[in-house]
Amino acid sequence: MIAAAFEYESPRTLGEALALLASRPDAKLLAGGHSLLPAMKLRVAAPATLIDLGRIFGLSYIRNAGDKIAIGAMTTHAEIAACDLFPAASPLLAETAAHIGDVQVRNRGTIGGSLAHADPAADYPAAILALDAEMVAMSERGERVIPARKFFTGLMTTALRPNEILTEVRVPKTTGAGAAYRKFHHPASGFAVVGVAAVVKLRGGNIESAAIGITGVGMHAYRASAVEAALRGRPLSAIATAAEKAAGQVEALGDSYASAEYRRHLAQVFTRRALQAAAKAAGK
């Protein structure tokens, strides 16, 4: 398939990109292109201008930033999955990245592109929420930091403003906690029918705190705060019952592969599995 005609820009600096974004009507940013280009080829999306971020130097990196790890928006899923900064300091994001799509998708797709696109079945949002990560958005007016909980606002919509570019994601280090991502793959697309990311801190054999991000169920990923509340200070044996609240607050989506009811059910199952795996990791 062939996309409708569009203008193509490939700025070399972030400044140029921001200027183009501010001046061109109906422009779309191109990162890895794994969601946008298929949509354009199907003519579901037909932006007037594509601003390719691929040639901007310095948007692809993973580095230590104090109690956080900073990831450039153009870093690929494969780079995140393979980076040795993560396993010891904050393994959840890398584990999640390894579950995305297939090898080709992981080699081309970027964390910034995925998060800004905000597909309701994307994997990262679960981890981003569970980690309380920060999104760094740049506009011509400067930098703005958006906490993960405020980032996903609706179906494929985020808190990013039209003139902003997501440039960096900062994930806290989770040393001392355990984390896990458990996912039910869609057999065709590889997206998450349901994906649950959990970070669990233990104290004296009980759960001190749990943070749970769930993707695939609702219009956008969310924190399972009812489950988290039900686990605070409780023994591990509380996990199974608490997990039943995994989809209580959300309006679930259904499609020809998985109904809303089934997704709610999966959310419970995978919340329990992710929590148990995270708790096990925390106990090590």
Binding site: P38, D102, P187, S189, S256, A258, Y262, V269
Partner: protein, 809 residues
Amino acid sequence: MAAAKAKPSKWVGRRMPRKEDPRLIQGISHYTDDLRLTGMLHCVFVRSPHANAKIQSMETAAARASEGVVAVITGKDLTDVNSVPCAGALPDLKVPPHPPLAKGHVRYVGEPVAAVVAEDFYAARDAAELVAVDYESLPAAVDMEKALEGGALVHPQFGTNLAFTHGLKNGDITGAFQRADVVVGERLVNQRLAPVAMETRGVLAQYLPGEGTMTVWSSTQIPHLLKTQISLMLGMPETLVRVVTPEVGGGFGSKLNVYGEEAVVPWLARKLGRPVKWAETRRENMAATIHGRDQINYVELALKRDGTLLGLRALLLADLGAYHQLLTPIIPTLTALLITGCYKIPAVDVEVVGVFTNKMSTDAYRGAGRPEATYIIERMVDVAAGALKMDPTEIRRKNFPKASQFPFNTSTGIIYDSGNYQETLKRALHMAGYDKLRARQKAGWKQGKYYGIGVSTYVEICAMGPSTAMPAGGWESGTVRVEPTGKVTVLTGASPHGQGQETSFAQIVADEFGIEPADVTVVHGDTAAVPYGIGTFGSRATAVGGTAMYFATQKVKTKMATLAAHLMGVKPAQVIFGGGRVSAKGSKKSLAFGEVVGAAYVAKNLPPGFEPGLEGTHFFEPSNFTFPFGAHVCSVEVDAETGEVKVDKYVAVDDCGNVINPLLVEGQIHGGIVQAIGQALYEEVLYNEDGQLVTGTLMDYAVPKAAQLPRFELARTVTPSPVNPMGVKGVGEAGTIGCTPCIVNAVCDALSPLGIQNLDMPLKPERVWRAMQAAQSKPGMDKIAPAKVAARKAQRAGMKNGAKKRRRA
């Protein structure tokens, strides 16, 4: 001396890597879309977004005026093009007109309504957006069972959506069901599938007005039949039409067809005087390339208490889609033919009912009617075993014909050529560790784990086939030409498109001539080069095409032996081939292969009456089909919480007669099993109630991927076919035929403690989970609604003539 060293079969039977692979793996071979001709134009089709609609008007002026556009045509322009052909000829078949571009009415989503031709693909694609079609959308016939009862009519002129009925009856069916101790029934769904060949379709046509010749490159399995049909559709002499199949990236039956695009593109090339190319997109492929399967089967088995099968009664509803493609109505009749499977069933009564719906046509998809038959009988035998509390292997063994009973006449009227069903089952059970799997299952049930073991024993029909049973002839041609340099060219009417016959045919010919496969080149898929042939489908290329080539080789060998005997001064009967030499048995006389060949071409010293040159052609007409068979055993685990099915062991013991190249056979079995697992677990073409295609991309339609599959453990038994001299049977579809019920049987077996007797494919996690939920909430429920074949048939009969049938309780 050289002759004494030559082994009788040096290459046949070897795991020889494919000659095709280096060019395919490197991406340096040419598919239709890789071809570029000077002045070539690009064609894009505008397709219906409606399942059923009147075309009120079409506005093409804007598209025509678009930059780079050369022509825009609609159905009205194609006044001199004949209907897309259907080769199926059933007695009361309703055959609707099938224009290559819709005329005034569209009947499925994806039906072509206009073609846009432009200087480049981009211009054509953009202009296609500008073709404005005013549709009056009408209610659509989508569900085949509802469509039979009334409502929207796909072709109002018929007054019904019933396309045909076809009966197959033999033996005392009434008596069988009266005498039965047990009758089991089920409604089985064989869902609609998309073939999803890796290479989509594509057509490139070039018309030379001076010469009046039309060359069409098309991604097809049947170049010769297509040549004939293009000449008929376009009203051109067949002698002026040439069809070439460049590399063809898979077909699975979807290219065993003649499509409207294969008339429109050449028509455009002739009209415009320039080459025109169309390359199908994946979305077009999902919507407008034939689909497979799509049957609903009501089946009943009558049995004695000891498991002896007495009779089978079935109503097979087949969703044909909106139009007949080449073999659309024939496919479900093959299901009837094979419905008794590996078993002695003395009485059968099968009615096949073809139904028009507002969907893409169904037609041959890998297995083509046989997977449906195998699914029916293999599921039903398991259901019967469950009802009788018998082991599923025991009931099978009990009803197999013995090896000594072959050739075996079935009550459906076919003759199984050779077989030993006990042996393949025994081997498969042994390899799978059947008893251990049963022990694990029992232990698992106690721990709330659902392990299931699936068994499927199949027989299928290959080597299609005797011409009496085939719409367009079932023979095949082969030409063997030894070139002056001693290299051998083989021309085969078969048209391999991934099967690897460039390799296996070279192995056969190399052995016959005592030369290397590297010295043999197999040419196929060019009607200007290759004598008329039928093509590659129905697992026929080696058993029929290979045999034609084998006989052609014998003709050349006889001729060479005559010449060599003359040159060496020995008797022709003494001449043997081997080690690159032609030698005389019982003497030390020997000539290099090339010396004899050279003598045939320079023609200075020939025996009296000897024609120069070394070429032989044979048209082989098989006396029967061949009937490969096998036993598949698998084990699965069903996730009790999610309903997800994991196949953790898969064993297949297949018997396809003698084997030319085990590597190719295993490749075919692997691919077949993958597609069968796809049907069992993942794949389904879904239309919503308005007839919109829901699974229009590979993001929705789940083709299985390597990570979703178990390791396959394969073995073979060898029961040669008596139908052809090489004793080969065919293997292209066996995996797809044998495996699907094996998986479903395993899942139903896993869930048998819950009283689940049947589940419909694909076994999507949610479907399995819901069945488990429903079963657990109804303790004691041990049977799911039985099929009501007799009642269904009576209802249908009542619709026709008020006749009634009685069903034994």
